[in-house]
Each structure stands twice: as C-alpha cells, then as structure tokens.
Amino acid sequence: MAGSGMTDTEMIATSIATGPHKRNRLSRLPVVHQLRQSVGLQRGMLVVGLVISGIFILTAILAPLIAPFGYSQLRDANGAFGAQNPPGGSHLLGTTVGGYDVLSRVIWGAQTALIVIVIAVILSIFAGVMLGLVSGYFGGWLDRVFVVVFDAVYAFPSLLLAIVMSIVISGGRSNLIGGVLAAAISITTVFIPQYFRVIRAETVRIKAEAYVESARVLGASNARIMFRHVLRNATRTLPLIFTLNASEAILTLAGLGFLGFGIEPSAAAEWGYDLNKAVSDVSSGIWWTALFPGLAIVLAVLGMTLVGESLNDLADPRLRGRRSVAKSSGLVAETSVVPGGTVKDEFEVPQ
C-alpha cells in the first residue's frame, strides 16, 4: 500500500525529529499527534474516550468535594441512613445493604481505582521495561530463561494470578494501603510479561541498527547505549499498551473485589466489593446497588479502551481512517505520469 510507506517515514521523522519538516512540540505529544491524524468515526471514538477518561480522572481527584457523604459513612445528623433505601431524597442513588450511600461509594470508588491503576501501571512499566531492555540487549541464556518464564506467566489466567498474588501479599484480607498495594502489585504481575515482550522485541530490533553500532565504536558504555539509544526509540508503543492496561487494571481490581479480595468497606470504596454485596440484592429485585457501581466500571473501562483502541488503529496502517490513505495516494497519483488521470480510470471495467 502506498500509504504505509509514506506514514512510516513520517513516524521516523517525528520520533527522531531531524526531518526537514520538523513538527512543533505540541503535535509531537503522543495523543495530540493521533488526534490530528484521525478522521471521522475514529476521531469521534478518540474524543469520546478522552472525555470519559477525563471525567473519570476528575471525579477521582475531586471525590472529597463531589461526594455527598464519606465512603464509610453510615449516619448523618438525621440518624442512620438505613439499608437498601431506593433512590431518591437525600440519597440520590439509594443505599446499600450495608447502609452506605450508593452515590458516595461510586464516586469514592473512582479514586481507589485511579490510585490502583497509577501504581500498577508505573510498577509494571518500570519492571517490564527494565527486564525487557536488559533481556533483549544482552541476550544469551538469561534472555532465553526470561522469555520462557514470561511466556508461561502470560498464558496464566490473569485473574487467578492476581488472586494468588493477593493471597501472598496480604493473606487475602486487607486495609486501605495494604489492599491498594496488594491489588496494584497483583495487577502488575499480570502486566509485566506484556511490557517485557514489547520492549524486548523492539530492543532486539534496534540493537542491530547502525547508530547503535556507531555508538559502540565511539566507546559508549552498555548502560549509555541501552538508555540513550535503545530505550528512547523502543518506547513508541508504550502509550498504547498503557491505556489498554489501565482499563484491564480496573477490571482486574473489580474482579478481585468481587471475589472478596478487595479492600474493606471501612478502608476505601471499591466497585467490585459493592457488586459482590449486591448479588443477593439482585435476586430480590433491588437493582440500584448493582447497577450504579457496575455502570461506573463500564464507563471507566470504556473511556480508557476507546482511547487505547483508537491509538491502536491509528498505529496500524491497515486500519487507519481512509483520509490519510487517500492523501498519500493522491501524492502518488500526482507523481504518476499517466495523462488525464490515474491508471484505474483508464482501465475501469464496464459493469
């Protein structure tokens, strides 16, 4: 396809930033660049995703200001809230079986989810990238052992791995810091193989490039080559994996909480835990305790996934919106020497 060649050069130009048409700083930021590149439906999905994710992050940060009550608050000046009150009155979304305010727990839950995602993703990027870089750069038996081990871990059902890790870390019962850390580290273990694979593959590829060779000839140390020459060029796909993992992290956290490995309700609000408590409510027709925490999970994951999906599609020339293809094939058409239009017009098959 003519389009892919063209855009590859563009990509290299942006990543090395030495091409004749150097872009300005703003459009070289990962997401901004893609936002400009996208068209139509794809841009719509990216924008919707960014907006939902933005709302999720804002809710998480502003939870203390937005939430009408505390996440573990059972009573106010008018006495106890009461259990399983239907939505309405001072409890917009009703109260849970444990007597908590549903709306407040949904809002506070965003905060817990965000903290866990941030810790989990930072830890797994750090560990996965380091291991992948070292493994790919040095190769040898260590590399082979890492590949086999991480392939095995990658094949493991992720939720089960997270359960085992959370038993190891907190014995399955936890307070706020312990619970958040346990969940984050459990999720990290699941993600490390993914970062490892991607970074290792890139490292192996980049290691063979001429500029790495010349850096070595100039006497650069291994560490310098790894971090300055290889790592900088191997991180292109990270924003993509990052967004997709963030959404998976929310699902894993909720899954852990749902199985009773979450965080105690008095320590923090967690959507999965609330859904677990709502299972018996559903059988008796009480819908509000399950619906709202569930919708919160769906929206948070949806936002992150839309962003990740769009980035993924934009990185794949086969799936990128058609305007960019048309634009570059237009370039090809201009340079082609068939008089009076392109080849296709001349040989059009009569219907």
């Binding site: 095995a152 094949a155 059902p157 089960l160 359960i163 038993i167 694979r197 559903v282 399950a290 949806l302």
Partner: protein, 361 residues
C-alpha cells in the same frame, strides 16, 4: 486489548529454522509438545512457591480455631514441618502422578474435586464459545464489509462494550432482567432439584448435564438444563464475542483488500460469496490462534460467572475455598487450570499448523 496477531515464534524456533532445512508436521508437533513441559513446570512451581510464601496451609485454614498444640500436631501429620525443598520435590512428584493433595476444609482429594466440578466448568466454557462464535463471527463480517459506515460504527462500540463490561456485572444485569423481572429464566444453579435428582441415578452418568439430560430421554429435563445454561453462557460468551468480532473485522478488512479478492470480483463472484468465502477463510487462522489465549480469559471469567449464578463448577468451588482459606485446594485448582491452559495452547498451535503450513517451525 490489542489486536492480537499470531504469537511471535519463540527465539529457539527461529534459530532452528536457520540450521535445519525445515521439517514436517510431525516434527513440529514433537517440538511443540516438548515445550509444554517447561511451561507446566514453571507454572506449577510458581503456584507452589507463591502459595507457600504465606506459610503453611494448615495455619492459614485453621489458625483461629485450634490451639497451638493441635495445630503443631496437624502440621506434623501433614508433613508441613519438613524442609520446604523436600516438600517441593514431593509436590512435583505428586502432581506428575495426578495427586494434588487433600482439601483441608472438606477433607476430599483435590483430584476428586477437580474431576467433579471440572466438567461443569468445561460445559459452561463450551456453551460460551458457541455463543461467542455465533455472535462474533457474522457480526465481524458485517462490520468489515460496511467498514466505516453506520453498521461498523455500531458494531465496534458494541464490541468495546462487550469488553468493557465486567462479566459479573453483565451476569447480574441478565439475572435481574430475565430471571427477577421477566421471570422467564431460572435465577441460579445448573438445573432444578427435581431434574438433578433424576439425573443423579443414571447408570452412565457423565456429570455433563446436557448429555445426562439427553440420556434420561425426558425433554422437560433437557429444557430445564438448557434454560439454566442460557444466561451464564450469554454473559461469559459475549465477553469473547467482542474479541472475535474485532478480530474477524480486522483480518477480513485486510484480506478484502487482497488482489485475489479483486480478481474474484472481476470474474463476477457475488459480494456475499467474496466476503463469506474468499476473504473469510484466510482471516480465520488468527482466530484459531487467539482461542488459545481466550481459554485463559474464559477460565478467569468462568470463576466470576459461576459465582454469580451459583453454577457448581471449579470457579464456584474456588471462590468457596478462598473464603474458607483452604489453600491446598486453591493451589490444586489453580495448578490444574494452568495445565489446562498450557494444553489447550498446544492443541490450538497444532490445529493452526495443520491449517496453515507457514506457521510450522
């Protein structure tokens, strides 16, 4: 989730290709089979060391209930006071012979638990795969054909929603709407008590309720069993259907642009046939590869689905054992599921190699 392409071949494989002049399918199967053992070994060892890092299982399960003397006695009887390496070697040997230990909370051999409840989980996973195929593949073809048009936009959002909805939430919603509000489908379980009793005493009992129900020859029992399976299979199946939909869409878009499709079109092959035959067939190969990865996802999902619907399978049992802090049982179930995943990946790789000669080492 990223668009999953075929798994990159292992580095050993690439090197082997250079040194030898290819090989037949038999050779490939042998090499691939030999690779299962390190995988299973690593997984089983990992589970052992991680679970034992928390201390011995007896204290974990009974710590609050027994005095220190009784505890020490139980620990000694079970052999947990010996050096950990000795226990590790013994555990590996036991696993190799299919002995996963005895549960602490119910005092049954783990192998027996695995066999009894494993079939229920297998049945659920099978139904979900059927749902995933029926929903995912045709919709993926539709989305690819009307690429960037309204049906595509709608279906892509649907696929993302399938993925974004946690399986226990969709399960709860289905239960709420169909069982509690509309009362058309049962709330929970694998069959009603009456049917279960009748199937209990079948001579050729398999534990797979659909087959057992067929054996009774009673259409009502069959209907009962199937109606219990609808909601769990739908909840778990939609999760995978979203993945299939996207995968079919991506790959069919790729193959629809291929030259042989154009040449087919110029020969007057109908659009329907172009999509369903010419473009669809080659796009199937990545799907077969991905099913291997999906098995892991489905098993994770099964744990959650079974908990919501009280589907008495491995996942439901796992949740119970986790609550009872019976880590011997947990270790056994987790190890078995890991082995199943490794085996199914093997089978899937072989099928992919049989279909597509390019995959072979």
């Amino acid at each position: 989730m990223t668009t999953v392409a075929a798994r990159p071949p292992a580095p050993q494989a690439a090197r082997r290709k250079r040194t030898s002049s290819g090989g037949g399918i038999g050779r490939y199967i042998l090499i691939r089979f030999a690779l299962i053992f390190p995988t299973i070994f690593i997984l089983v060892s990992m589970v052992f060391w991680l679970m034992r890092a928390t201390g011995d299982p007896i204290t974990a399960a009974l710590g609050g209930r027994l005095g220190p003397d009784q505890l020490a006695e139980r620990i000694h009887a079970a052999g947990y006071d010996r050096p950990i390496l000795v226990q590790y070697v013994e555990y590996l040997g036991n696993v190799f012979t299919g002995n996963f230990g005895t549960t602490i909370s119910t005092n049954r051999p783990v192998t027996e638990v695995l066999l009894t409840y494993g079939v229920a989980t297998a049945e659920l996973v099978f139904y979900s795969l059927v749902v995933a195929f029926i929903v995912g593949i045709p919709l993926g073809l539709v989305a690819a054909y009307w690429r960037d048009k309204a049906p595509d936009a709608f279906l892509r959002v649907f696929a993302i929603l399938c993925y974004a909805t946690p399986v226990f939430f969709s399960a709860l919603l289905f239960k709420l709407v169909f069982s509690v509000w509309l009362k058309v489908l049962p709330v929970a379980g694998r069959a009603s008590t009456g049917s279960e009793l009748q199937m209990q005493f079948l001579p050729g009992k398999t534990g797979i309720y659909t087959i057992d129900a067929l054996q009774t020859g009673n259409p009502q029992i069959l209907l009962d069993v199937v109606s219990h399976a609808v909601l769990p299979a739908l909840a778990l199946g939609l999760l995978t259907a979203g993945v299939f939909l996207r995968l079919v869409r991506t790959n069919v878009i790729g193959t629809l642009g291929a030259d042989y499709v154009d040449s087919g079109r110029s020969r007057g092959v109908s659009e329907y046939r172009l999509v369903t035959k010419h473009a669809y067939r080659p796009a199937l190969i990545p799907i077969i590869t991905v099913i291997g990865l999906q098995i892991a996802l489905l098993l994770s999902g099964a744990v959650l689905t079974e908990t919501v619907f009280e589907w008495k399978g491995l996942g439901f049992q796992l949740a119970q054992f986790l609550t009872a802090r019976d880590f011997v049982a947990v270790q056994g179930i987790v190890a078995l599921l890991a082995v199943i995943v490794a085996l199914s990946n093997f089978v899937v790789d072989i099928i992919a190699a049989v279909i597509d000669p390019r995959v072979r080492y």
